[in-house]
Symmetry: C2
Subunit: 310 residues, 2 copies
């Protein structure tokens, strides 16, 4: 075993930070590291936190860290920095707000950069989660900015997903995209000391009523991140979701999902824009009844991915 | 050219009915027929009508037929019979309600049966649309029961999609699944003489406000299908959508979408449940950093579809 892997497994903070950098940068030492920790994974619970900008994500994450620490847990946070320079400033401010916990020995906070290609974030995040799991963190909070692909990735990575909605469904709810609403296991109505919290909760409740859930039905918890009100209740809701069963992803299934979802997205993206003279001819043959549907699928898949073969 | 193809192209009703039966049953003469009409496609506009059971779909479709007839159009209706025996009775009733137009020389009404496998409905429907297009119908209305896969198929087939919502968002809106709400170009709030119409329209408006639309923003039209109130406005909204541009699917693109979406669904379905010792080994190799993400996708796709190769 490499020195760094042994140090990570012993819970060494500096080694953990170095190991995450190694997986983030696809450094040569990452392979030996990932191999060495592989058999030691599966203890950490992964908690996804997302919501629109301004919802109070980082303040609530900070309050959650405090609550988990009070319960004796070791807590790690992976925060996704968007490449967008616009939200860059806010993220920096959030990191500073979380700073109070940064030096606590049972807390580890780290920003992750997107690698700038689809699936890049979840790939890095999945490996960073493995490192933090190996380093003995009980809870790994993955915090995203609540826009675009990162929310979908939260769905794949997290055991429990919390979507933060600011009280007052005015213009702000415009930012809560439909995709966000679909992934929530728990809604935190934050800034719940606002007179608008009642209405926000009501609107969420009616949205939940519009959907059908095969198992767990999303819960709503009111929080005031700045004072810590409702944060204990939020942790209780998270525990209830964990206890509900059938929700644990774990390291093996996380990788399987990551690759399976990656393949599906890759094929969907390619097929949506795929065009070639052979595909045109296939479509025409299908339209003329000369080729059956399943044969058309099989042949189209072959055509679209022909150059991927060796 | 076969006799039946020539008769279809001449607008013969009986030949059109026989031709649709041929494509529905994959009869041997279907190939010659589809080949013969292939060069003559592309005039018909395809209108998708869907909504929950009880929304008044068939009454509204009947009213739409009357409005299109009054504007001088030839109108065809393809109604999807679900295999479910529960809704079978209602569908039969709907067919009877549409009966007033059935004998009109510029109207053609036909029920299509699902072939009982994914994509079967859209496959049959796509070919039936081609036959009706060749037979000179200006508008082809595809009416589905508003549950499950058929709504997704409407998305692929139709140039303009109308989702019918009954006034009064009580238990009935439970039936309007999120998938239905995503596909609408136009919402018809039907039974708009109910005092609840105002609220229904308001809830739809706030739902539309939650999403972002790259082009056309869905319109809401109030209708009373039983009296015909609002039906002219609905046709105006349909014309506005057609005129908005970029929405026309057409026969070539319809087949391309059908096959591309079929491939994506096929791969997604397979990947969600795919499991094999080789895939487990691949996931482990990825987790250990021995395989890159893109190589993992490529290899996983090969593994999942190995038996599909010849």
């Amino acid at each position: 075993m490499t020195g760094i892997a042994a140090a990570v497994l012993a819970g060494d903070r500096r080694a953990t930070a170095r190991a995450i950098s190694a997986v983030e940068n696809d450094a040569p030492e990452a392979v030996a590291l990932l191999r060495a920790i592989h058999a030691r994974l599966g203890r950490a619970r992964v908690l996804g936190i997302t919501g629109p900008p301004g919802a109070g994500k980082s303040t609530l994450t900070s309050a959650l860290i405090g609550e988990f620490l009070a319960r004796g847990s070791r807590v790690a946070v992976l925060a996704f920095d968007p490449s967008s320079p616009i939200s860059g400033g806010a993220i920096l401010g959030d990191r500073i707000r979380m700073g109070a916990h940064q030096s606590h020995e049972r807390v580890f906070i780290r920003s992750l950069a997107s690698r700038g290609y689809p699936g890049g974030l979840s790939r890095t995040a999945s490996r960073a989660i493995d490192v933090l799991d190996a380093a003995g963190y009980d809870v790994v909070i993955v915090e995203t900015v609540g826009a675009g692909q990162s929310d979908v990735e939260i769905r794949l990575l997290a055991d429990t997903r919390v979507v933060i909605c600011p009280a007052g469904l005015g213009d702000e709810i415009q930012a809560i995209k439909s995709g966000l609403l679909e992934i929530a296991d728990i809604y935190a109505v934050n800034k719940a000391d606002s007179p608008l919290a009642e209405r926000t909760e009501g609107e969420l409740r009616s949205m939940i009523g519009l959907r059908e859930y095969p198992g767990w039905v999303p819960r709503i918890v009111r929080t005031v991140a700045t004072t810590g009100d409702g944060v204990a209740e939020l942790v209780e809701a998270i525990s209830a979701h964990e206890a509900a069963g059938g929700v644990r992803v774990g390291p093996r299934e996380r990788v399987r999902r990551l690759i399976a979802a990656g393949v599906s997205d890759w094929v969907k993206g390619r097929m949506e824009s795929f065009s070639s003279p052979e595909f045109d001819a296939l479509c025409e043959a299908y339209a003329k009844g000369e080729v059956g549907m399943r044969d058309a699928w099989r042949r189209a898949l072959e055509l679209a991915f022909a150059q991927e073969r060796k």
